[in-house]
Assembly symmetry: C2
Homo-oligomer: 321 residues x 2
């Protein structure tokens, strides 16, 4: 079935919202729906649309996978609580770290997180809830990239570990599939979400696991989480499209107390982009780069070296894993 | 024995040269001396001093270890040929690559190169030559760093595989040991060496092997050699103290023809420094960083990502291996 794109210049957020609320209500009827909120703009917009359409017949979960930024689950749950939306946090950290143990290949890491999310944690929640309707924040760019072979195609039922027989009656609702990130931001704003959400920087599905080259461990997540807090604080006023800290696996020499000391390297990326399809490194002032490097090497344990990405996308990608 | 430093403000290059020529002549007498020329300012100055003192009783070798920059052995030999100094190039590439096979630890890599250089290749040349006098380009900073534990102490006879009994009569001559890099540059200029030599950027002993994180192979040397040619060309007018391209072992994703493609990352470092004891990243214009990144990703096979070092020394070191 072909998806009819609603271009940004044709998008009327209020009308779009009214129509999507009607659609969701009419599909779900007096049934139950479920969704997973990550705190990104897509899943936040879907949560609000579902909440407006279904009230407490929508059950929203935040899966704490241990790979999130500092205090992220609590911050997001508190934010939605203020908007009258109850979010339940599911602590699944051990399951995710268990699944990631020993994996170094980026695709295997992504796959382990996807499998743990869908088949184990969210799949279990869906089955336990009795809900037959799933709300998902798929946007048109996700569909494009699946077709282009950049992302892998997902059959959501299969991912949930629900077999076709058992799946009879299950339905996926994707209210954002006709729009792109810029459209979602307008819709999120019109839905009454705060600017911290509707202007929120893109953040990868595998979260901080996508910011670690090599094996993901709780210790390394802790290191890259500290580096992420610094980068997000220092670059918050740059108006860049996205910025990130990446923990490399390569060890590099440093000096501590006049002696050679092999340590860690953090790579910082900061992107200028309109829609993530092409991107250029932001030309940050050197004073700021210098401050970032100093904070990384003094505040993040083990870091002796800091680099700044200077390659564009393409041929680089925005994330490093 | 304490070494009496000649400070840069007290150094009179012509007098220093005359005195060192006399010293070398009086030590060697009518014997034979031997030295290894790398093309760096220290070994170049020593070669000229030795040549002026001993003429053709100094035998100068350039060890082609396969780890040099593009056309380096031929360029250096030709340059000295013009100055009337005959340099013999010894092709030992296979011995070095054989010794480096499978090694990933930076210290083990350095050790393998040192051992191959001294015990195997240069040791063999010393014994075959019958020379009992070795000229070495040790400078005062090398001595300081050995004492401070940054570099390892070297017993040159041991390194050459010459045992104390057999070694009776062997003598090491270190004409530059009272001065530092800035002094050597003045001496090299006064010796009539061209600016390309006396203002030559420092280059590490393990050559391009010090610019590869992880195992050193002929293929990787080829990649980092191309990257080095680009960096040295583009940054030649910056007046920076030192600049370099480093090939990382970490693989990062890139895009080629719209598809995901895991590729290589090159890190560029460019340093402002007076004497290498402390150093800061040069604040290169972004236009130049952009050009470097473009050339790396289009001209160096497999490179999809380029970074620029933004950390200072300390806690970083200048080299990355």
């Amino acid at each position: 079935m072909e998806i009819k794109e609603i271009k940004i210049q044709d998008l009327k957020p209020k009308e779009f919202i009214d129509q999507k609320i009607k659609e969701i209500s009419s599909i779900v009827g007096d049934g139950l729906a479920i969704n997973a909120l990550s705190g990104g703009v897509d899943s936040s917009a879907v949560t609000m649309l579902g909440h407006k359409a279904l009230g407490n017949r929508l059950k929203t979960y935040f899966i704490e996978n241990g790979l999130m930024r500092q205090d992220e689950p609590q911050k997001i749950a508190a934010l939605f609580d203020k908007l009258g939306v109850k979010v339940e946090i599911i602590d699944a950290q051990n399951e995710f770290f268990e699944a990631l143990k020993g994996l170094t290949d980026p695709e295997e890491k992504r796959e382990a997180i996807t499998q743990t999310f869908y088949k184990k944690v969210f799949g279990r929640l869906v089955r336990a809830s009795g809900a037959k309707y799933l709300l998902q924040g798929t946007i048109l760019t996700d569909v494009d990239e699946t077709v282009a072979g950049i992302k892998r195609q997902h059959n959501v039922f299969e991912q949930l570990g629900i077999d076709p027989q058992e799946a009879f009656g299950y339905k996926i609702i994707e209210p954002l599939v006709q729009i792109r990130k810029d459209g979602v931001r307008k819709v999120a704003e019109a839905l009454g979400l705060p600017e911290a959400i509707y202007n929120r920087m893109p953040f990868p599905g595998p979260a901080l696991a996508a910011r670690i080259i090599g094996e993901v461990t709780p210790e390394k997540i802790n290191i890259v989480r500290k580096a992420t807090t610094i980068v997000e604080y220092e670059l918050q006023n740059t108006k860049a499209f996205q910025y990130m800290a990446i923990l490399h696996e390569d060890r590099v020499p440093g000096m501590r107390d006049g002696k050679r000391d092999f340590g860690l390297q953090i790579e910082i990326r900061c992107w200028d982009s309109v829609d993530a399809r092409v991107a250029k490194p932001t030309r940050l002032p050197y004073e700021l780069l210098d401050k970032l490097a100093k904070r990384m090497t003094t505040e993040v344990p083990g870091v002796v070296s800091v680099t700044y990405n200077i390659a564009s996308k393409p041929p680089s990608t925005m994330e490093a894993v």
